[in-house]
């Protein structure tokens, strides 16, 4: 009797609390205000969209073995970086601390530590981008800017992130996890290239220490028509009238007010300008995120397209197509896509209408590129000021094939960032 006296008030209290909790949950859940988005998905917008973690991915892996010697892991049957990324998912309970700052000694001690794999981004990215490749495990970590990730192959509780600016080293402590899969990657079928990681004009740089054997390629290209992009980019609901202007080699499509698309038929490049208001955010994470959205909107093939660089002055983000893990450069230094925010009411993307799709068997055999030291020395002997070189890359030069408009030749070459431009070693050597 006494118990039942409290039963009803108690049940009532619980019922009230439950209804309040559910109300709060329902009211605060944004899904409530969202309509079902599936209906908006149109079958015409099919394309292979690659996730952020694919585009904003490290592009090179360097292994330092037990005696301290280093090699670049070059793709052969597998994409080495992709295989390593696959193992980076079980990082539980991460805590980050700054290990050192402004100390080159500490920076290189961590970068070149024995038994480790270093993943290099092509340019600075933010922690939010790293988070995409570690299955969201780093979402709570501060949004530091970094260039490299160091994965020890014999210590399962630590990772390091390196920022080239100020030579900062961050240490991430994680729960013990298995290193078996990471060590298995090293046993896969891949080519290795002796290298060392040191300073070039005060910039951390991967030096190739011996001559490099590189495979020239012939590629079948994916040739996209102007129409595809016109209907994709200019066909928004508010633009009915598209006008066309033709000049000698350029065709300009516009919708009078806010969108413009220019095709150049001689170099098969296109430029898309969007004069609608944009967020005009300047920080790295939003720039990269915005740029990614624009990349998706363009609808260019994203196969092997990776983030290459971000230039803070011009606010342009460059993407390149990678072959065997090496970027492709066109004769003017351009890559595959570049996006740029000019101001709060202008964004511009440049992209190539032709993109490499299928590699073709080549009987050319390997060509040899000199080591980094040799390359720099030869440039110096030619009269170039080596101090002006801030970056070097092994890349592929894009040239039209003489036999067919559907084929291109990719020739291996050294590329140096000289006077704020990417120039090929061959072109520099042939200049005088």
């Amino acid at each position: 009797m006494r118990f039942s006296k409290y039963l009803i008030p108690l049940a009532l209290t619980i019922a009230v609390v439950v209804s309040l909790t559910l109300s709060v949950v329902l009211w605060t859940n944004p899904a409530n205000y969202r309509t079902n988005k599936q209906t908006a998905q149109s079958p015409t917008s099919q394309q292979m969209v690659k996730p952020r973690g694919y585009v904003y991915s490290p592009v090179q892996a360097i292994h330092t073995n037990a005696d301290g010697s280093q090699v670049i892991l070059v793709n052969k049957l597998v994409n080495t970086v992709t295989e390593i990324k696959k193992t980076m998912k079980n990082y539980k309970d991460p805590h980050i601390k700054t290990l050192s700052k402004n100390s080159k000694v500490d920076y290189f001690r961590i970068a070149n530590q024995t038994d480790s794999i270093m993943l290099n981004y092509s340019d600075t990215v933010s922690m939010k981008m790293v988070n995409h490749i570690v299955h969201n495990r780093f979402k709570k970590l501060p949004n530091y800017k970094i260039n490299r990730i160091v994965l020890p192959t014999n210590n399962s509780t630590k990772l390091y992130l390196l920022a080239d600016k100020n030579f900062t080293v961050y240490e991430i402590d994680i729960k013990k996890h298995s290193l078996k899969s990471l060590n298995n990657v090293l046993k896969m079928d891949m080519r290795t290239q002796p290298a060392s990681f040191k300073l070039l004009n005060n910039q951390p740089t991967v030096y190739v220490t011996t001559a490099v054997q590189m495979q020239p390629y012939k590629y079948l290209i994916d040739r996209q028509s102007d129409d595809y992009y016109v209907s994709r980019l200019l066909n928004s609901a508010d633009s009915q009238n598209i006008n066309v202007k033709r000049r000698k080699k350029t065709t300009i499509y516009g919708d009078q007010s806010s969108l413009q698309l220019i095709f150049n038929s001689s170099n098969r490049m296109a430029e898309f300008s969007d004069f609608r208001p944009n967020h005009n955010l300047r920080n790295l994470t939003s720039t990269l995120n915005d740029s990614y959205k624009n990349l998706i909107k363009l609808g260019v093939p994203m196969d092997n397209v990776r983030f290459f660089s971000y230039d803070q002055k011009t606010r342009s983000v460059m993407y390149r197509t990678y072959v065997e893990g090496f970027p492709i450069f066109r004769s003017d230094g351009f890559g595959t896509v570049s996006t740029r925010t000019l101001n709060s009411s202008a964004q511009r993307s440049e992209f190539s209408l032709d993109n490499p799709e299928v590699p073709l068997p080549s009987n050319k055999g390997y060509t040899s590129l000199p080591s980094t030291e040799t390359m720099l020395k030869r440039l110096e002997n030619r009269g170039y000021n080596i101090k002006k070189i801030s970056k070097t890359r092994i890349g592929y030069t894009w040239t039209k094939d003489k036999t067919s408009p559907l084929l291109i030749d990719l020739t291996p070459d050294w590329y140096v960032y000289y006077n704020n431009r990417w120039l090929s070693y061959t072109s520099l050597m042939n200049q005088y």
């Binding site: 079902n36 099919q46 049957l77 299928v358």
Partner: protein, 276 residues
């Protein structure tokens, strides 16, 4: 006493409200799942397909990995056919046609069991260990083996063994083609899943209503030839069969780009039309 009654009324009301809110909450959760995961929108389209009377079995959503590969059409079969015994081989247009002097009995229901053993004998068939049985392309009178390549197999008449059987389940002859030096042209890359391949084919309006998807396979099919070299791309090969018909149509979806490959390989079609 009155207060107690009020309490009971309140309790009943609040429980009713709780049930209602909980129902809302669950509905919300489902809606969220629909919005968030791509997989669910895929299954919606698959449902749509089933509504169009297109019969599909269980589809895999797993992405596989594949290569671009090449192989060379060479005369190695002609050069080595001297070692074949108990048959009369002829080399015609890069194909080895051979008639057996004595027909060989095979298992009626599982002919591949017998043939798999025979293929290890290099005096019976050259490079026999490099071929794998294709149940989908085989018929009761025509047993097809495809050449293996990089963890999958090639669907092409240029890399195939076709055994001809008589009505007594005996092999009487075979035709073989072979590609030499199969190699990858680029590192391994991710392909689209079986579900996505089928959805795209459906969205290209390539699957008519009232059809059955007989089988799907991820294999290599020919993209182009350059002199003696053949370039193959990973392809989802989808066989569809209109209801009330036995004729199978093959559709191909590029497993890297998801694009449809329109021009069907003539020879692949030929081997199909012999189906009864």
């Amino acid at each position: 006493m009155n207060f107690r009654r009020i309490e009971i009324i309140f309790l009943v009301t609040f429980i009713a409200i709780d049930i209602f809110l909980f129902g809302m909450f669950k509905k919300n959760m489902n809606m969220q799942a629909d919005n968030v995961s791509q997989g669910d929108s895929d299954s919606v389209i698959v449902k749509e397909m089933r509504n169009d009377q297109i019969k599909v079995g269980n589809l895999s959503k797993k992405n596989a990995y594949a290569f671009y590969i090449s192989g060379e059409q060479s005369n190695v079969l002609r050069n080595q056919m001297g070692q074949l015994t108990n048959q009369t081989p002829q080399y015609v247009g890069h194909e080895l046609e051979s008639e057996l002097k004595q027909p060989i009995n095979v298992d009626q229901n599982n002919p591949q069991k017998t043939i798999n053993k025979l293929l290890t004998d290099s005096t019976f068939v050259l490079f026999g260990d490099q071929y794998v049985y294709s149940k989908d392309l085989s018929t009761s009178r025509n047993i097809v083996y495809n050449q293996k390549a990089m963890g999958s197999s090639i669907y092409s008449s240029e890399a195939q063994i076709r055994f001809t059987l008589n009505s007594d389940h005996q092999i009487v002859s075979y035709t073989q083609s072979y590609l030499e030096g199969i190699k990858s042209l680029r590192e391994k890359s991710e392909t689209i899943s079986e579900t996505r391949a089928l959805i795209w084919l459906y969205q290209y309006n390539e699957i008519p209503n009232n059809t059955t998807v007989a089988w799907t396979n991820l294999g290599y099919t020919k993209l182009l030839s350059i002199d003696g070299d053949r370039v193959f791309i990973p392809t989802w090969i989808i066989a569809i069969r209109p209801q009330n018909s036995t004729q199978i149509q093959l559709k191909r979806i590029n497993a890297f780009t998801g694009g449809i490959i329109k021009e069907t390989d003539e020879n692949l079609k030929n081997s199909q039309s012999s189906m009864d």
